[in-house]
């Protein structure tokens, strides 16, 4: 039996009250953990008691769950309420999920939809809230009938006497449950008894999405609002000097044009790379787009105008001489390499990439003398609020930030500069405005994924045993090296170094930061090493994990070797690895990030001289699977995203300007390039659930590169791979040979 506390230092994590219109309302803090280990004497943060999640049990038995978590397509608006409903023990068909109003006061630092953390952080508190509701409803029924709670049982919202005939629905007893004292601790279900968790449930917003309901920030309409667009400098390293304002404001449908300054003390999550911008305000988006075309601005250079060749040279230099961000060393790799009978060394690179959320950046703002209302797609409302307070000189308690459904995140909506821009424009106009980026604005003022360069090296003895391993990687924001991840812990003489180089391009987190590159490079390298020593790549990695299970090297290894090996064995079995099928070219890769283990086998076929991904097999260990439907969907999406970006996507710079500004030249994966089938298998587990938004992506890059090698006989070291495959004759010759 698992008990969970509902209070800390006699302060309840929940508030219970009568619901408007009848029934019971349970309020709690959705986004903080109620079981975090708090050392005695450390005061618990105030925001733990802020209420932002609500469960309403109406007198008809209809349960409404108000979810405040930002929905960026990772399906938390379905999966998190499912956890509440499981412990509450109600029929999912009687549950309605609403986007809850936000109280960002509660989230000064904590509210954050990123790092695939939502489910992991919410698990305990969501269960606690549901279980408390169930317990209080049971106590109310017991009191009503003059029996003990132990005489009662509940299923799907109906309470029954074990030895009697009486039954009562949650709706009928809810009003009376309000008067029950909140229990100090409640019993949680045994995972074996889960009925909803682990089942297939459809996205609760599906019906609204397929009928075009206004859910997204860009759809938000306030009576009387004006529309606004920005024009940012054409290059990183430039700022605005002046522009033809009089001509612009005389244009049809244009209300005003001016420059704004959103300089605040810059933090990573503001990303004000262009603090000075031209803003144009008008009646329709089309008028604004025409005005943008008519803009004649003078820009001036304030720092170096960089280009891609310069970036390549800097990474080559700084993989040796850059600032070391993190490193690890086990044994004596220098000596081991010097004694090695054979050394294999390979270098991998990837270019800058844009996020390209399909919904461009946008935000609504209504700023008055001492108040601000901000509404739009952000993953970090607390960051926006505090910075808006600084920018506007309005106290935080007079600022509200509300979140809409988000048309794609991938890390981009962690950065709040566009919310600040909307606020500055509204303040200047003294009117409600909605700021919209054009696709060109969105792609050329990105918070890009950095370019990377990593070099991997192994030393082999005369019997082809791996005696030394080295990984060294650099990026402009961060190198893509995780010194304490696999194969750390499996090789005696090991070194890993993460380094940083400098650029004035704005950069930030991009889905599965650094892992998206590290997995492809490391898993391609190990595939090549396995071939060099005459081993199957899966066998080689399983041997390394055996070492980590039996006798790991070092103490800081960030993975559980059994679970890692578990997903590899699962995918090996499901994909029937080792059985060669004519015309099918297979690649394997595995990776652990964001607390979840994923292994994949990718099958390529050749069609009209082009490699096509026929099927991807994925084995996933994310602990308990909350909503199987949503979990499979997001893993499939990660695989497509990984393949697409490794294969096709790249942004280059010339004189500080991105060379691509729309989807006519920036290539995103499309229908005909997508895998034909993606099958997902989960390791059955009773371990607390971990995230799925990111971990499906990284191994797809390695599995793709390794399968491409099988087709072409060429190893792929540089993304995007499609550029390297351009010579189709190479492929065809190989096939004929």
């Amino acid at each position: 039996m698992t008990l969970i506390k509902t209070q800390h230092n006699r302060r309840s994590f929940l508030k219970v009250s009568a619901a408007a219109g009848g029934g019971m309302l349970i309020g709690f803090n959705w986004l903080t953990s109620c079981t975090s280990q708090v050392k005695e004497g450390i005061p618990i943060p105030k925001e733990w008691f802020e209420i932002n999640g609500y469960i309403k049990i109406g007198d008809t038995g209809l349960v409404t769950i108000y979810s405040p978590n930002p929905e960026i397509g990772q399906n938390v608006m379905t999966s998190m309420p499912l956890i509440v409903a499981e412990e509450l023990d109600v029929n999912w068909d009687h549950v309605v999920v609403e986007q809850g109003a936000l109280n960002p006061d509660a989230f000064k630092k904590r509210q954050f939809s990123g790092g695939s953390l939502s489910i992991m952080q919410g698990w305990d508190v969501l269960r606690m809230a549901g279980a408390t509701g169930r317990r209080m409803l049971l106590e109310a029924a017991a009191k009503e009938w003059g029996v003990a709670v132990s005489d009662l049982t509940v299923s799907e919202g109906i309470i029954k006497e074990i030895k009697g005939e009486r039954t009562i629905g949650y709706g009928e007893i809810a009003a009376k449950a309000v008067d029950i004292k909140v229990p100090e601790e409640v019993e949680l279900k045994n995972p074996k008894d889960f009925k909803l968790i682990g089942s297939f449930k459809k996205n609760v917003e599906g019906p609204k999405l397929v009928t075009g309901k206004p859910l997204f920030g860009i759809d938000f309409i306030r009576e009387g609002m004006l529309l606004a667009m920005i024009e940012h400098p054409p290059a990183f390293g430039m700022t605005v000097k002046d522009f033809n304002r009089e001509e612009i404001v005389s244009m049809n449908g244009i209300r005003d044009a001016f420059t704004i300054d959103i300089s605040v003390e810059s933090t990573r999550l503001v990303a004000t790379v262009f603090p000075h911008l031209i803003a144009i305000v008008g009646d329709s988006t089309w008028h604004l787009m025409k005005a943008k075309k008519a803009l004649k601005a003078n820009w001036e250079s304030i720092s170096e105008l960089e280009n891609s060749e310069m970036h390549t040279q800097r990474l080559k230099r700084d993989i040796e001489k850059g600032e070391i961000q993190e490193s690890r060393k086990d044994g004596n790799p220098e000596v081991a390499f010097s004694k090695a009978a054979k050394v294999i060394e390979r270098t991998y690179t990837a270019p800058f990439q844009a996020h390209n959320t399909l919904e461009p950046m946008n935000f609504f703002a209504h700023v008055t003398a001492n108040k601000a209302e901000l509404i739009g797609p952000t993953q970090t409302p607390g960051v926006l609020k505090s910075n808006a307070s600084t920018l506007l000189g309005i106290p935080e308690e007079n600022i509200t930030v509300d979140i809409t459904r988000i048309g794609g995140g991938f890390g981009r909506r962690l950065y709040v500069h566009y919310g600040l821009e909307a606020a500055a424009i509204s303040k200047k106009m003294g009117a409600p405005i909605k700021l919209i980026y054009s696709r060109e604005d969105d792609m050329t003022a990105g918070i890009y994924r950095t370019a990377y360069r990593s070099t991997y090296k192994v030393g082999l003895d005369e019997n082809n045993n791996i005696i030394a391993y080295s990984a060294r990687g650099v990026g402009f924001r961060e190198g893509a090296i995780f010194p304490n991840r696999f194969p750390a812990g499996t090789i005696e003489n090991y070194t890993a170094t993460k380094l940083k180089s400098e650029s004035n391009i704005s950069m930030g987190a991009w889905r599965a930061p650094r892992s998206h590159f590290a997995a492809g490079a490391e898993q391609s390298f190990l595939d090549e090493v396995a071939e060099a020593i005459g081993k199957d790549p899966i066998d080689l990695q399983l041997e390394l994990f055996d070492r980590a299970i039996d006798n790991p090297i070092g103490e800081k290894n960030e993975y559980e070797a059994e679970r890692y090996a578990g997903v590899i064995k699962l995918v090996k079995e499901k994909a029937n690895w080792g059985v060669e099928t004519p015309g099918i070219y297979r690649g394997f890769a595995a990776y652990f990030c964001h607390n979840t283990y994923v292994a994949q086998v990718l099958d390529l076929i050749m069609k009209e001289g082009k490699p096509i991904v026929n099927k991807v097999w994925c084995a996933v260990d994310c602990g308990i699977v909350v909503n199987r439907e949503g979990a499979i969907n997001i893993i499939q999406g990660g695989v497509v995203d990984g393949i697409g970006h490794a294969m096709y996507s790249e942004i280059k710079f010339e004189n500080g300007s991105p060379t691509d500004n729309n989807f006519n030249t920036y290539q995103l994966i499309r229908h005909n390039q997508s895998p034909k089938e993606i099958e997902v298998f989960f390791v059955e587990s009773e371990i607390k659930p971990t995230g799925l938004g990111e971990p499906g992506l990284p191994p797809a890059v390695g599995a793709l590169a390794n399968a491409l090698y099988k087709v072409t006989g060429k190893r792929y070291y540089h993304q995007p791979y499609a550029t390297a495959i351009q010579d189709q004759s190479t492929i065809e010759t190989t096939l004929k040979g």
């Binding site: 459809k202 075009g212 729309n662 229908h671 997508s674």
Partner: protein, 152 residues
């Protein structure tokens, strides 16, 4: 500015806008029909797909002056109760992730199936290739389209 009488989702609408204004912005800014999405503005992503008669069109590059009296259908008007076979298939296959591109995907798929009720896989890919899904729901989109063809 000029006055245009438009037949949208079976209703007459009068708008007074620039003749070169694309239908996308007439729908979104003048008529508050925001189910049709802006993604690229150059007919490369398909998020803005509507029907002009029975044909799928990218509304971001369709000037209002070229519409005339042809019937326009948007995602809001594809079915009265949200139960068009393609919408039902999208729900059944739980296609959406972020969902932003899906109204364009659905409109494009509905037009495809109207002109070609039993498309082959390559025909589906060719017809849907102009619709980008940044979340990568392509596998489910194709399954959903194929389920409609097998149900009819």
């Amino acid at each position: 500015m000029a006055v245009f009488n438009l037949n949208i989702n079976g209703e007459q609408h009068q708008v007074d806008v620039d003749p070169d204004m694309p239908m996308l912005w007439v729908l979104r800014d003048s008529l508050n029909l925001v189910g049709t999405k802006y993604g690229c503005g150059i007919a490369q992503c398909g998020a803005c797909t509507i029907h002009l008669g029975d044909v799928a069109m990218r509304s971001c590059m369709l000037p209002v002056s070229q519409v005339g009296n042809q019937a326009i259908t948007t995602i809001e008007g594809l079915s009265e109760k949200g139960d068009h076979p393609v919408q039902q298939a999208w729900l059944e296959h739980d296609v959406a992730q972020c969902g932003y591109c899906q109204s364009g995907q659905i409109m494009n798929a509905a037009a495809l199936l109207k002109s070609n009720p039993k498309p082959s896989d390559p025909e589906i890919e060719a017809a849907m290739n102009g619709n980008i899904c940044r979340c990568g729901t392509y596998v489910r989109i194709k399954e959903a389209i194929k389920s409609v063809t097998s149900n009819t």
